[in-house]
């Protein structure tokens, strides 16, 4: 009976020590058009059971297919935040007010800034015992984009900075194709990329899409896994289509990749081994025994 009670107490202790950093933010984005001054607010709430420390920072967003970079400068210089550091007890919320002021001499340009709202636990964790221990604190962040678009002359322009293809693909392993686009215009651009692979016997087509802000670079990564019978030299033709306001002349480039089936390599190795063994003559040993 005593054991059962102790077990129950321990269970309750461990169950009650489950905890978390809980962060709620609303609204989740802002879009500002045709004005150089904007005032807004976001509501930040702690919907958990632990007190959290909250910081609010302003950044500019650089984003591609797999990465998100938050940097200083650009649109982040136009953002002013009133409440940047505070503590929220469980179930408490706070309004964070901010302003966006675009310089009056700024020409037309799409850009995106962000409010980065970060929550970390209030108390510092303590490790117990000796030896080498690892304690990893957890934080939660919500990024609130502030998309800014202003009127003025429109310039749509993307530049293909580089196109990288693998030299050899040995099936069944896939090959990665990368291309980097730079937005040299002043408007946000969506693009559609198509890589067409033309080989001796077969063709393939891979599509992908993305978006890039003025002044930013976007690296797209496309994976192609050749089929069992794909073999030979393939021409990889990349074509990037874009034009948010008017269709623009597509960006095009080409390269080559060699596809070697894995089964062919194994077959060649087996043939070489077989030839080697066949060509190697075994010496005949003659043993003479004299009768005594």
């Amino acid at each position: 009976m005593r054991r059962a009670i102790i077990t129950l107490i321990l269970l309750v202790f461990f169950l009650s020590s489950v905890s978390a950093v809980n962060l709620l933010v609303s609204p989740t984005r802002f879009e500002i058009k045709n004005t150089t001054h904007f005032s807004g607010k976001v509501t930040v709430e702690n919907f958990g059971n632990e007190t959290i420390d909250v910081t609010v920072d302003k950044k500019r967003i650089l984003k591609d297919k797999t990465h998100l970079l938050l940097v200083d400068g650009g649109a982040s210089d136009w953002i002013k935040i009133k409440e940047t550091k505070f503590t929220l007890r469980p179930k408490e919320h706070k309004d964070v007010h901010f302003e966006v002021n675009v310089p009056s001499n700024y020409n037309y340009r799409d850009s995106v800034g962000a409010l980065v709202i970060r929550a970390t636990p209030k108390s510092t964790p303590q490790a117990k015992g000796g030896g080498t221990q690892f304690v990893i604190m957890q934080g939660a962040e919500v990024i609130v984009p502030i998309v800014i678009g202003l009127p003025g002359p429109i310039k749509e322009s993307l530049k293909l900075e580089k196109f990288k293809v693998p030299l050899i693909i040995i099936t069944p392993l896939p090959g990665e194709f990368r291309y980097t686009l730079k937005n040299t215009g002043n408007t946000y651009q969506n693009f559609t990329g198509t890589i067409t692979l033309k080989g001796w016997f077969t063709n393939a087509k891979i599509n992908s899409k993305g978006g890039v802000y003025p002044g930013d670079e976007y690296t797209d990564v496309v994976t192609w896994r050749p089929g069992l019978w794909d073999l030979g030299i393939y021409h990889a033709d990349a074509k990037i289509e874009y034009g948010r306001y008017n269709p623009q002349r597509p960006l095009e480039t080409t390269s080559q990749v060699i596809v070697i089936p894995g089964w062919l390599i194994v077959l060649i190795i087996l043939l070489i081994v077989w030839r080697f063994l066949k060509g190697k003559k075994m010496p005949i040993k003659i043993k003479i025994e004299r009768e005594q």
């Binding site: 632990e50 990893i136 934080g139 919500v142």
Partner: protein, 186 residues
């Protein structure tokens, strides 16, 4: 007395007239019903949490690990690391770490700490970085009143001859509304 009779009569008539002027007959008239429209604008909301069961304040305590250059793993789930979304919009989920695991001047390089899982078949075991890496795109939203959960697998290698002590770092899970960085209309 008879000479006052006309006066009494006149007073009675006057009082009657005055009384009739103040008299408000009660008429049974039904009042018009009033209607009011109540509305509430529910705004886009992102709500996320990362949990480590059995550890206070959301801290991940991996406990004692020998410096044997051997990669150890902690599979995500109810008793380990999980990330939850209670948002009413689809989110892109990113992860990053603050930096190397440190103990004073001693440190363990961040590429010894890795992650995987997130219910993402295209994700491979990846070392933490100080820049955000996308781990789950277009996640959610859950149905009303519910939430979505993904497990996070963690891996740690402690190199040989790492000085003993408590090493710490901070990992952040960041959420942004899926497609939220793009302008909606030209």
């Amino acid at each position: 007395m008879r000479s006052f009779a006309p006066l009494f009569l006149l007073a009675a008539i006057m009082m009657s007239i005055v009384g009739m002027a103040y008299y408000q007959p009660v008429t049974a008239q039904a009042s018009e019903s009033t209607t009011q429209t109540l509305q509430a604008n529910v705004s886009d909301t992102i709500a996320i949490t990362a949990t480590w069961a059995g550890t206070e304040n959301g801290t991940i305590n991996l406990g004692n690990v020998p410096a044997d250059n051997f990669e150890r793993s902690w599979e995500g789930g109810d008793t380990a690391e999980q990330v939850h979304t209670y948002s009413n919009v689809a989110i892109d989920l990113y992860v990053r770490a603050a930096g190397d695991l440190t103990k004073g001047a001693d440190k363990i390089a961040l590429d010894n700490l890795k992650y995987d899982g997130y219910a993402n078949d295209t994700l491979q075991k990846t070392a933490f970085d100080t820049t955000y890496a996308l781990v789950k795109a277009g996640w959610g939203p859950p149905s009303q009143g519910a939430h979505l959960t993904v497990p996070v697998d963690l891996f740690l290698t402690v190199p040989f001859a790492t000085p003993p002590g408590v090493y710490t770092t901070t990992i952040y899970h960041a959420a942004v509304q899926a497609g939220g960085t793009e302008p909606t209309t030209p």
